[in-house]
């Protein structure tokens, strides 16, 4: 069975495929493709992806690591009784999408061909980069809400900064300045050390990330959030809206059997191998225009909030590298893909503690979410149920690649600050504060 919408009906393929994210240095993009997989080919696909994933982990598969603009990518097969299986391919990249797709399809033609051959509407008989590019573009979906943690940090720069900071740390261990040494003296020593490092010439050109333009962008975002609130009001006369909402909140079914132990086991088995983790989730939007429209407005507003965040933090969450939500299948399903630091339990607890209202506003429009009040309240605060729903809608990520397996968001931010400090004019630098970064 082929789902009409997935062949790229209206509302699915947009002229703007990706979300460029504000930055003064290199912008990041999220590019996600959803295709219907042909059921008889899913078993083979699964095996192929499993082998690919194992090879990535073993370091024998170098396709993704050869793509210098790729931060994270993933392939996930989402099984579904009604709509049939879908294959989701997510890339979080630097710079231009054209460059990335060209490089990916050139270097990875054979791999992509083998993977997308499972797509119901994939008809190429041999690996052809141009056809693959066109196919990926034709199946791209548009993230409704996207978040990038280390805004403006390219893969290359993240790696360079980490390596340089490690060398500086070693140097400082050697230097072991006695108590009472003037901070400026230590900084001078570090500068001299870095100047002699032939691999570190780039650091003197590092630009401070927050430019005047960024500040304007932030203010613009705040205005835009206000506009979002207005949009919410435009959902209809507010009173009537709230009444309609409350009626649904009190009657929407919330009971689910919970995830099977086998499912949770499969999910957890692939978690916590490295500093970061990946989560793929797909759930049904509650039926009816009311929920669909509410969800769209909330996602729109959330996207604006995500734009305001700086310093690797989204409302106090400092463990998100890349995350996005997208409505797919004619707005009937909500896709969520995230690359985060630390354990799943910690991630969900962080969610509950810091952004429960936002999550509730989004996910309460999907089936079986714990009971909410007034869109924002309760919901995710029902910790056990929330976690059960999260596990139930989560799928096993078949392939996952990270370009910097040992680096959490906080560490990347710290490295950035260290390098920006080096590049700053010596007299403007607060040496003592800079040394505290180590």
């Amino acid at each position: 069975m082929q789902h009409a919408l997935l062949r790229g009906g209206p509302g699915l393929v947009h002229t703007q495929l990706t979300m460029p994210v504000r930055s003064s240095v290199v912008s990041q993009r999220i590019f996600t493709v959803v295709v219907k997989a042909c059921p008889p080919r899913v078993a083979d696909l699964q095996a192929f992806l499993g082998a690919l994933d194992a090879a990535i982990r073993a370091g024998t598969e170098t396709l993704f690591s050869s793509l210098e603009q790729l931060h994270f990518c993933s392939f996930t097969i989402f099984p579904d009784d009604q709509l049939g299986p879908s294959l989701v391919f997510e890339s979080n990249i630097d710079g231009s999408l054209d460059d990335y797709l060209a490089a990916l399809c050139r270097a990875g033609a054979a791999t992509l061909h083998a993977i997308f051959a499972a797509g119901c509407d994939y008809h190429a008989s041999s690996p052809q980069p141009e056809l693959l590019q066109a196919y990926l573009r034709a199946h791209a979906i548009r993230p409704a809400t996207a978040f990038v943690g280390n805004v403006g940090r390219s893969v290359r720069r993240i790696r360079q900064e980490a390596a340089l900071v490690a060398r500086i740390e070693e140097f400082l261990d050697e230097l072991a300045p006695p108590r009472g040494t003037a901070p400026a003296t230590i900084v001078d020593n570090v500068r001299a050390f870095v100047r002699n490092d032939p691999a570190a010439h780039w650091v003197w050109d590092v630009q401070p990330r927050l430019t005047a333009a960024d500040f304007c962008a932030r203010w613009f975002s705040v205005v835009a959030v206000a506009a979002g609130a207005l949009a919410l009001v435009s959902l209809g006369p507010l009173g009537a809206y709230v009444v309609a909402l409350r009626r649904r909140e009190l009657t929407d079914p919330v009971d689910i059997p919970g995830p099977s132990p086998e499912h949770v086991q499969a999910l957890t088995e692939r978690e916590d191998q490295i500093v970061q983790n990946h989560m793929s989730s797909l759930c049904y939007v509650k039926p009816g225009a009311f929920r669909r429209r509410t969800l769209k407005v909330v996602l729109f507003a959330a996207n604006l909030v995500a734009r305001v965040s700086v310093g690797g933090k989204l409302l106090g969450l400092d463990s998100l590298h890349f995350a996005h939500w997208a409505l797919i299948d004619g707005d009937t399903r909500l896709l969520f893909l995230t690359n985060y630091d630390g354990s799943w339990e910690n991630y969900l607890d962080d969610f509950i503690d810091k952004v429960a209202a936002g999550l509730t506003a989004i996910w309460s429009n999907t089936r079986n979410f714990p009971r909410t009040s007034f869109l924002l309240l309760d919901g995710a605060k029902d910790e056990k149920r929330f976690k059960a729903v999260a596990r139930t809608t989560q799928a096993y990520t078949n392939v996952w690649y990270s370009a910097y397996r040992g680096l959490p968001v906080t560490c990347i931010e710290k490295n950035r600050a260290i390098c920006e400090g080096l590049a700053a004019a010596p007299r403007t630098l607060d040496s003592a504060a800079w040394l505290r970064l180590f």
């Binding site: 108590r179 630091d341 339990e345 607890d349 906080t410 040394l435």
Partner: protein
């Protein structure tokens, strides 16, 4: 809130039995279900409850998931996955950092979860009392279809010190509204008050909800020994808790020799510097005085002090951010978080610690005597995943804890010899490098510590059909 049903709770939940310093943890396997049920039935009568005073002896008992099944419990729903999996499962082991020398395959007991069924905990005021209790029990095991797998004799020393030489058993959460928590409460501040449901099933937890609880079909409990739980089920979990037991071997000489090596001056060993570094690892001085209150030197006056937080020491200049007590309970000191919010977060991951040292004390901390010693780590919680496992995984063994990188708990973390430890200082941090593993897991299991009614129910189980 509802008052605790102390008469239905095992004593260990509300007391660490400090006045009963001699103790033994007996791990048993059930070989004959019917006889073991009979044994449990008679034991239930003498199990120490949380009601009143237990003067000279204490007896508590807990069962693993395999143990419950071996007893004949067939259809109980609602046991959490972690408990069903068991501590030795590959998934749990990875999450807990039990790898290398600590891997379950290398444990001296417990790697085969179906060999560990019952944990019998005995406490006595005198050494002879403990020996007598142990002998009495041992005489009855074989006849009751029980097989002794291992017995770990433990002891709370008069000075309260564990083997590395630090005072232990100081910081404990106080149960909100609970009278017996008064001593713990008096020593600290309201931040330390935690909802009863974090430790006891059947009461509201920090999220304001009732913890998940195991339940059985009402039909399986015709005598209504258990309380009703709605939906035609009876509540097996009520007034019970989950008990985490880990035998953690401590290499005391390796610990102190490492510290000695890193603090040697031109004149050789520097015992004061060594001790200072050790305190930086733990977050308290050997007497127990917390570094945030006694940053420069030990202060026995503050030995039992627990009224402190880390918010005023955000950077860790007094107590490093990665110190054991700061990782194990970050209190109000999460980086970049308001102190109130930070406390609320920390309090969702608290543990009632009931561990005691086992093995002989070392004569000279710098000399390995080859003896086996360590901590019989025991803690109680109502949600193993959100509490014990979380603390172990997301705090103790997390290389990115609170903005740190490449380091785990210097004292009890899963070290691999290449980790760091960052000690904040002005103008520049110091880093300790190449920290080896000082502790090794030697065995362990997840147990369920039933309420007294639940114990009686388990003892009265009808034999299940074979198969």
């Amino acid at each position: 809130m509802s008052a605790l049903e102390r008469n239905d709770m095992q004593g260990l939940l509300l007391s660490a039995y400090g006045h009963l310093p001699w103790s033994a943890n007996v791990v048993l396997r059930i070989d004959a279900a019917a006889r073991a049920r009979g044994w449990l039935g008679s034991l239930a009568g003498s199990v120490t409850s949380a009601l009143g005073k237990h003067r000279t002896r204490g007896t508590n008992v807990a069962l693993t998931y395999c143990g419950l099944r071996a007893l004949g419990l067939g259809g109980a729903a609602g046991f959490p996955l972690a408990f069903v999996d068991g501590m030795a499962s590959a998934r749990r082991a990875r999450l807990l950092g039990d790898c290398g020398a600590s891997a379950p395959g290398a444990w001296s007991w417990g790697s085969d979860p179906d060999s560990v069924h019952v944990l019998l905990m005995l406490f006595a005021d005198e050494e002879t009392g403990l020996a007598a209790a142990l002998a009495e029990h041992r005489a009855a095991f074989a006849a009751n279809g029980l097989h002794e797998i291992v017995t770990l004799a433990t002891r709370r020393h008069r000075d309260g010190k564990e083997h590395f030489g630090f005072s232990d058993g100081i910081a404990q959460p106080a149960i909100r509204g609970e009278r017996s928590s008064e001593p713990a409460r008096r020593r600290t501040n309201p931040d330390n008050d935690v909802a009863a449901g974090e430790f006891v099933l059947g009461y509201r937890n920090e999220y304001g909800r009732l913890p998940d609880t195991p339940a059985v079909d009402a039909a399986a409990d015709p005598g209504a020994v258990l309380a009703g739980a709605g939906g035609g089920t009876h509540d097996l979990g009520r007034n019970g808790s989950y008990l985490v037991f880990r035998q953690i071997e401590q290499d005391v000489a390796a610990f102190w020799r490492f510290l000695d090596d890193r603090t040697r001056g031109s004149e050789g060993s520097d015992s004061a510097a060594r001790e200072r570094l050790a305190a930086k690892f733990l977050g308290r001085w050997p007497s127990g005085a917390p570094l945030v209150q006694a940053p420069l030197a030990d202060d026995p006056q503050l030995a039992a002090a627990n009224d402190f937080g880390f918010a005023a020491d955000r950077r860790g200049l007094s107590c490093p951010v990665g110190a054991h007590i700061r990782r194990a309970n970050p209190r109000d000191g999460f980086a970049d978080e308001a102190p109130r919010q930070s406390v609320r977060r920390s309090n969702r991951h608290r543990l009632l610690r009931r561990g005691r040292p086992y093995g002989p004390r070392i004569a000279n901390v710098l000399e390995d005597d080859g003896a086996s010693r360590g901590l019989a780590f025991i803690c109680l919680n109502s949600d193993i995943e959100r509490q014990f496992e979380f603390v172990q995984q997301t705090w103790i063994n997390n290389v990115t804890f609170c903005g740190l990188a490449n380091e785990v708990d210097p004292l009890v973390g899963a070290q691999n010899g290449s980790g760091f430890y960052t000690i904040a200082d002005d103008p520049l941090r110091a880093r300790v490098k190449g920290i080896p593993r000082f502790v090794t897991t030697k065995g362990g299991a997840y147990f369920f510590l039933p309420g007294l009614r639940a114990l009686r129910f388990l003892a009265s189980l009808e034999p299940v059909a074979a198969g």
